[in-house]
């Protein structure tokens, strides 16, 4: 189950998305996250689904891998969808029993939310983590935030912290799995009992994980010092970021495709609720 977490995972490849300048990708991602919230009609949500499929195809990453990455958010998506299903009121209830009324508006809202959450996760992963190496991401972040250096914001340090955090996601997942197996072998039970009992069962996992993270961090710091790391000053990069005409073309195409979400709202459509 933990193996399903693909957060921060990079899928090597050479698709147009992989090759797009990471700074532009970062800007695209921010634009995408904002524009997603402008989707209001069934048609624009349908367009979002198409957009995700298109991005997936463009990235060349297998659909199976992308669906796997969605697994951890399914619970959150379904949970919020169900709440909206019961809490949304409309004009004519579709079904009503006891004191619960379910309106068509609620159903649409639930569907919209699921699409929105899924698109949010897929879009950000595809635009950034899946197709961008952590180092590129750090560079992009550092480049975009570099004006803040003038007001003494530790931009490089912040970016480096992010890279390292991402680098350690798979390592910590692996370790968590090892600890769980070790505890299971000693008869620990993580699958039964009520929520409180299950939460309590997590303590023997989290404590060793926490402790080992500290020794990892200290070892890593030593290893980085041994490799002459002294912070951002005087550091060069093997891969220089260079914007080409091709980058701008892809960027503008994708940006217009994202912006179309807003325009599609204006197309009249008989079905679906308007959010």
């Amino acid at each position: 189950m933990l193996k399903d977490i693909t957060l921060g995972q990079y899928f090597p490849g050479s698709s147009p998305l992989h090759r797009l300048d990471p700074r532009l990708k970062l800007v695209l991602m921010i634009a995408f996250v904002v524009l997603i919230f402008f989707a209001k009609t069934l048609l624009s949500f349908a367009y979002l689904v198409v957009l995700m499929a298109g991005l997936t195809a463009l990235s060349g990453i297998r659909v199976k891998a992308i669906l796997k990455g969605l697994k951890p958010v399914i619970f959150i998506a379904v949970f919020t969808a169900v709440i909206n299903l019961f809490w949304t009121t409309g004009e004519v209830p579709l079904v009503s029993f006891w004191r619960i009324n379910i309106y068509p508006e609620g159903i649409w809202r639930a569907v919209y939310l699921i699409i929105r959450i899924m698109a949010l996760v897929t879009g950000t992963s595809l635009l950034l983590t899946y197709t961008t190496t952590p180092m590129d991401m750090t560079d992009a972040l550092e480049a975009l935030l570099s004006p803040l250096k003038k007001i003494r914001v530790p931009v490089h340090e912040f970016a480096m912290m992010m890279t390292l955090a991402l680098r350690f996601v798979p390592t910590l997942i692996e370790e968590t799995e090892k600890i769980i197996n070790a505890q299971k072998a000693r008869g620990a039970d993580f699958e039964s009992g009520n929520l409180l009992r299950r939460a309590k069962a997590l303590i023997p996992i989290l404590v060793p994980l926490f402790v080992s993270s500290f020794s990892r961090a200290s070892e890593l710091a030593t290893a980085m010092e041994c490799r002459c790391y002294t912070g951002g000053e005087g550091r060069t990069r093997m891969k220089q970021l260079r914007l080409t005409g091709k980058d701008w073309v892809i960027f503008l195409i994708l940006l217009s495709l994202f912006a179309a979400i807003v325009l599609i709202n204006f197309i009249p459509f008989p079905w679906g609720t308007v959010l």
Partner: protein, 291 residues
Amino acid sequence: MQKEAIITCTDLTFRYDTDQPAARPAVDGVSLTVRRGEFLVVLGRNGSGKSTLAKLMNGILLPVEGTVLVGDMDTADEKYLIPIRRKVGMVFQNPDNQLVSNVVEEDVAFGPENLGVPPAEIRRRVDEALQTVGMSEYAHHAPHKLSGGQKQRVAIAGVLAMKPDCLILDEATAMLDPRGRQEIMETITTLNKKHGITVVLITHHMEEAIAADRVVVMEKGRVTEEGTPREIFSHVEKMKRAGLGVPQVTELIHELSWDGSLSGRYSFPSGILTEAEAAEFFTELLEKNHG
């Protein structure tokens, strides 16, 4: 003629807890010289101060007493810190805790990038370093999908890209399976013999010490023995008292020589290190007595 010294430790003492001068120091009055091009193995049981000594050698830790010179640069002098760490590279036990990137080649580039090497030159060094450790085809892979031995080879490449004179491996094979261990041993032997890189190998696998030019044994923060592998391992009982062992073949011959019924009839040499040597000895013995 003796080769020039790369690392010179003189009366080196270090304690982690400086508030307790009465406690035994982690490194206690060590004087040791590492010479250019040599393959030095440091043996010693857990807690004998091997890692502390290693960290003193590239200025991660600074001496409480005594000095460490790398070439003629004193590790206590802050202005030499970066040139010293560039010259003396270090690989640690756990590969997962020393790789900084999710992509092999980016990790290898980390050292030269910190040194401010121009991009094109970094590219060249990274390709060369990966080639040297035989990991070129994994340049774009994620380290967490590699085997332990492969991860350690990437870590070694990361050090090589800094163009070091000396490579210190602190139990770099301890977490590996036999195959990974062999990969690493082959890699560092090549580095030492073909590329002339000085190697300081810290280990407690006695078999890894056989190939060394010189072996140093540490006990309670002190260097207690020093010599060629043959000299060191000929004192089987002494090694055992130090909480160490000797290579299995050496131990076998030693046990045979202590068997009263055999030692009366045959003479067993001390300091046999490899299976090949043992085989040769037994063949000779058989030929002499039965042939």
